[in-house]
């Protein structure tokens, strides 16, 4: 459904003429005339109002009874009174009723000081109660989940939390039990409310009924300061506000930005701040001494790093992790190109795409925004699981489907959390993304051998055809949300073919000609993958997607070259390839063979712990300064909320130091100066400043400088026959996924630890039955003599012939089973342990 056009109307509130968009609820429209109507249950983010609390009663001329302002849309010429004695009496009695059963234990209540109930009782209540009977009692406080405490006595039954669970995150866990005064919020059977977005209900609760266990009794509103920044834990880049007390982050709140996060956060972004203050965090520089990493002075660490890079004589490979800011990535690039003289650096975990293809995929004309997902006619989610890869996007997709009737299609190998919302779900064989996009292109165009291509992709032909039909017929606003891993095949030709097929199919759907509301939206594998790409932190792409004079090695080639001794030193910027890149064995070998490894890390993950010779501490999210680029091109600014540990240098200073120490041109003195350097180097970022980015970021596509975007490859794209998915033939295809809870920040945050994933093998029950495997049983998954043990997890939705394992779990990861030279995913056997 395209965005509706909204007219302005005029109405009168308390004698003032106010202009408001037609259809706005009175409670919101009155604000435009500086009239405050108290509300409890009304929260526009939750969708349609329910009118549960009656706090917002107002008098409307011509309507005999008082009306709820939260659920009455304004009409032209409406005359509203919010002040007269009748309204006043109603407000006072609603407050009195709400307080009948309310314990008013504000001194011990965590909401005290920032409590809407306190404010509204003070502003609109009568100040005294006539209620003398005993109040209702519940046990308090109770654990709703390890993250959330619930105090049922304080609950005013506004339904906000239940509506969030039922209608926004759609985890359907929270319900209201019992009736009348006995009503209480809970989960079925008292199960803990564990869900990826559960933390949002604490922010929604207008009283102190739902409070954070992690923030419990930590501070009062007058003890703290709020500091806005951006979450750096996934490409979603939600806008957050850090709550700081005594120079420590004690809480993370959302900072609503409708173009990015819609005012929600996932629990990872909300609680992972705790990992900033754990002992395991790298607190200062370390160097390897007698085989062990020991703390060292900054001078020594810097000179060791300089020696390592110097000794490698230009044969240095560098990797920039997706979590690096634009500034960090830029300095790493300068270090490599200007000083070391090596072009072997990459910011992608795998795969290579030419500058032309990359520019075609990222062109402003082909770009869909996050907000477009809400209003598109149809959305295709292609080879990505939003809730794991970019959690906040999951909520946006659900919103579009639920509220605006967006037609959703999901095409993945692993069953998706969005399947129940999708009109159409198509499965293809793990790793056969390339073949699937080729089939999709054929189906959309109604040309070519759909049947053959679908078979190559291990997908159902009719489903692919139905998908093609649906996308073609849905309307002109189609958005394709595609996972970057589609182009991550070990063979670059395969990745390029997938990209071309995607472009070709998009071209057929008219997504590439600059129509607002339609286009492509990538879900990258790294938080700032787009920014790093645009700066040219890629082996074959220069700043601003220019063609570089010389092409270097991609990350996979760096690993191979390191293992063969051709790349001698490795520089790891916020990344541990052993832990998080595909081809674990290859990276183990590469790091072991390197003569020197310089790493910037927050935690000593396995690869860093075993192989790094120098470790520089990375800043935590709340300590970081710089800019990042959202997958839809929005430049956002990271502002440090707290100071770094005593004496610690920020990463950009370490990198500038290395540049000068190795004889490079002296560089920026502040992080902001690096941003200006970037603005000069990337033509379509020209002139961008921190001020212009501001609190909510700015999409470069909307600036004038976007005209400088280089022309990428334009069709016609010719496709080659894709690699066919191997037929299982008794074995199982190995698929992998990375869960939202798989990250060192989650593993180290005390509140989140319980969510840290354990390896599980997702299987179809029939496949399991063939092998005599029961749900919950321990199994070993073996490929080429390497095995990983896991718990069998039977899912009816899981396609036959495949098994899915998690990555990011050390030597028990799916990546341990992926063989080094494979172009098709490994075949594995699964047997009970």
């Amino acid at each position: 459904m395209p965005r509706p056009e909204i007219d302005q109307i005029t109405f009168t509130v308390d004698g003032r003429e106010v202009e408001a968009p037609a259809g706005t609820m009175l409670a919101d429209a009155a604000k435009l005339g500086d009239v405050d109507i108290p509300v409890f249950c009304y929260e526009p983010k939750l969708g349609a109002p329910v009118g549960a609390c009656r706090m917002c009663l107002v008098e409307i001329e011509g309507i005999p009874k008082l009306q709820t302002a939260c659920s009455t849309p304004v009409r032209d010429g409406m005359v509203v009174d919010t002040q007269n004695p009748r309204v006043k009496a109603a407000q006072e009695s609603v407050v009195e009723f709400l307080l009948l059963n309310h314990p008013l234990d504000c001194p011990v209540c965590d909401k005290g000081g920032e409590c809407p109930l306190q404010d509204i009782s003070f502003g609109w209540g009568r100040g005294e109660s006539r209620f003398v009977e005993p109040k209702r009692h519940f046990q308090k406080p109770v654990e709703l989940s390890p993250l959330i405490a619930i105090d049922r006595e304080r609950c005013i039954l506004c339904y906000r939390c239940v509506r969030f669970s039922q209608e926004v995150s759609e985890d359907y866990q929270l319900v209201l039990h019992e009736r009348g005064a006995d009503t209480f919020v809970g989960t079925f059977d008292g199960h803990p409310y564990v869900a990826p977005f559960s933390g949002n209900i604490m922010e929604l609760c207008p009283v102190g009924a739902l409070t954070s266990q992690a923030y419990r009794f930590r501070a009062r509103p007058w003890d703290i300061e709020q500091s806005g920044s951006v979450c750096t834990l996934c490409p979603g880049q939600c806008n957050v506000s850090y709550t700081v007390r005594d120079d420590r982050v004690v809480r993370v709140l959302n900072r609503q930005n409708d173009d990015v996060d819609d005012g929600w956060l996932c629990d990872r972004g909300r609680f992972a701040y705790q990992s900033t203050y754990v002992d395991e965090r790298v607190q200062g520089p370390m160097v390897r001494e007698n085989g062990r990493l020991v703390p060292s002075s900054w001078d020594r660490a810097l000179s060791t790093a300089v020696d390592i890079i110097d000794a490698a004589d230009g044969r240095v490979g560098a990797l920039a992790g997706g979590g690096s800011s634009n500034e960090d990535g830029w300095l790493l690039r300068r270090l490599m190109t200007e000083v070391v003289g090596s072009r072997d650096f990459d910011s992608r975990p795998a795969g290579v795409l030419s500058a032309g293809l990359q520019a075609a995929l990222d062109a402003p004309e082909a770009q869909a925004t996050v907000a477009d997902l809400e209003w598109a006619h149809a959305v295709l989610v292609l080879d990505t699981e939003p809730v794991d890869d970019m959690p906040v996007l999951d909520l946006r997709l659900r919103k579009g489907v639920r509220r605006n009737g967006v037609r959703l299609a999901v095409a993945t190998s692993r069953p998706s959390a969005l399947d129940p919302n999708a009109e159409l779900s198509v499965r293809f064989a793990p790793g056969a993304g390339e073949a699937f996009v080729c089939a999709l292109d054929a189906a959309v165009g109604g040309v070519g051998d759909v049947a053959g291509l679908a078979a190559a992709a291990g997908a159902d032909r009719e489903a692919v055809e139905a998908l093609g039909r649906m996308l073609r017929e849905a309307g002109e606003d189609v958005v394709v949300v595609w996972g970057e891993r589609l182009t991550h095949a070990a063979d670059p030709e395969v990745g390029a073919n997938a990209a071309r097929a995607l472009l070709k199919a998009s071209g057929r759907l008219g997504l590439l000609d600059g129509r607002r509301g339609a286009g492509l939206l990538q879900v990258p594998t790294g938080m700032n993958a787009r920014g790093l790409r645009e700066l040219g932190v890629l082996p074959n792409v220069g700043p601003g997607y220019s063609e570089p004079a010389q092409v270097g090695r991609s990350s996979r080639e760096i690993a191979v070259a390191a293992a063969a001794g051709e790349v001698r030193a490795l520089h790891l910027l916020h990344v541990d390839p052993v832990a998080s890149y595909p081809d674990r064995a290859l990276w183990e070998a590469g790091l072991a063979a390197a003569t020197g490894v310089v790493a910037h890390a927050s935690f000593l993950t396995e690869g860093v712990l075993e192989h790094a010779d120098v470790v520089f501490p990375s800043e935590a999210g709340a300590e970081k300064e710089g800019t990042v680029t959202h997958p839809d091109g929005r430049l956002q600014r990271l502002r440090p909320a707290v100071g770094k540990p005593e004496g610690t240098l920020p990463t950009w200073q370490v990198l500038s130091h290395l540049i000068t120490a190795l004889g490079g041109r002296a560089t920026a003195l502040t992080s902001m100066m690096i941003t200006s350097e970037i603005a000069e180097a990337v033509p379509f970022y020209a002139g961008i400043t921190h001020d212009e980015i501001g609190g909510f970021g700015i999409r470069w596509q909307e600036r004038e400088a976007s005209d400088a975007f280089p022309a990428g490859d334009s069709g016609p794209f010719s496709l080659v026959a894709p690699v066919a998915a191997a037929s299982p033939n008794g074995a199982l295809r190995l698929g992998s996924f990375r869960s939202v809870w798989s990250s060192p920040e989650v593993a180290h945050a005390p509140a989140l630890k319980f969510l840290a994933p354990k390896q599980r093998a997702e299987l179809n029950p029939d496949d399991a039955a063939d092998r005599g495997i029961r749900h919950g049983q321990r199994v070993t998954v073996t490929a080429d003599g390497t095995s990983v043990s896991a718990t069998a997890h039977l899912r009816t939705a899981s396609p036959r012939g495949s098994v899915f394992l998690e990555t990011g779990l050390g030597d028990q990861s799916a990546s341990a089973l992926q063989s080094t030279e494979a172009t098709v995913p490994s075949m594995v056997t699964v047997e009970s342990a």
């Binding site: 234990d105 001194p107 011990v108 005290g112 000081g113 308090k140 930590r218 007058w222």
Partner: protein
């Protein structure tokens, strides 16, 4: 004296010329008059309070060094660490860090207690707002005003210091005194 616009000479009334016998008499006479007052006070006895050996009792509503209170029956602290005193304090000299009571470690009556409670006496202006703000009468202003110290940091009073019964150094005026 009025000003006469017709005349530009202003007459100023002056006292008698000093000097001479008359002058000497005036000086001597005044001195004697002063001495008479002094000697009359001598017989009245002393008025000086020999502080610090001797102290003036303070009135019951005097606002001196704070005290934190415990319940007499249970021995639990009255303060629940709500920070309302800190919010009310115009000098911003109270710092409260709350923590949760557990069954093993029950410090106060409610769910929370003050794990850290500090008042910086060198900043306190003894306005008593903290006492008024406290919903549990956990903090009251005492009578002690002798808070001088050699070190500023020693003037940050901790919870233990505030809970301890202060040394009785300042006499309190009795009812009707």
């Amino acid at each position: 004296m009025t000003w006469n616009p017709d005349s530009d000479v202003v007459e100023v009334a002056r006292g008698p010329e000093p000097g001479g016998l008359g002058g000497a008499y005036r000086v001597f006479g005044e001195t004697l008059r002063g001495l008479k007052t002094s000697f009359m006070r001598v017989v009245e006895g002393t008025h000086t309070v020999e502080y610090p050996e001797e102290k003036i009792p303070v009135y019951p509503r005097w606002r001196g060094r704070h005290k934190l209170h415990k319940f007499e029956d249970t021995g639990l602290e009255k303060c629940v660490g709500c920070s309302l005193c800190a919010a009310a304090c115009p000098a911003d000299c109270i710092r409260v860090v709350a923590a949760e009571n557990t069954d093993e470690n029950r410090v106060s009556g409610g769910e929370r207690y003050a794990a850290v409670y500090e008042i910086n006496m060198s900043r306190c202006i003894f306005c008593g707002y903290c006492e008024i703000a406290c919903p549990f009468d956990a903090i009251t202003m005492g009578s002690d005003f002798e808070l001088a110290d050699y070190n500023r940091s020693d003037l940050i009073f901790t919870k233990e210091m505030l809970l301890a019964e202060p040394m009785v150094r300042t006499p309190l005026r009795a009812e009707g005194e």
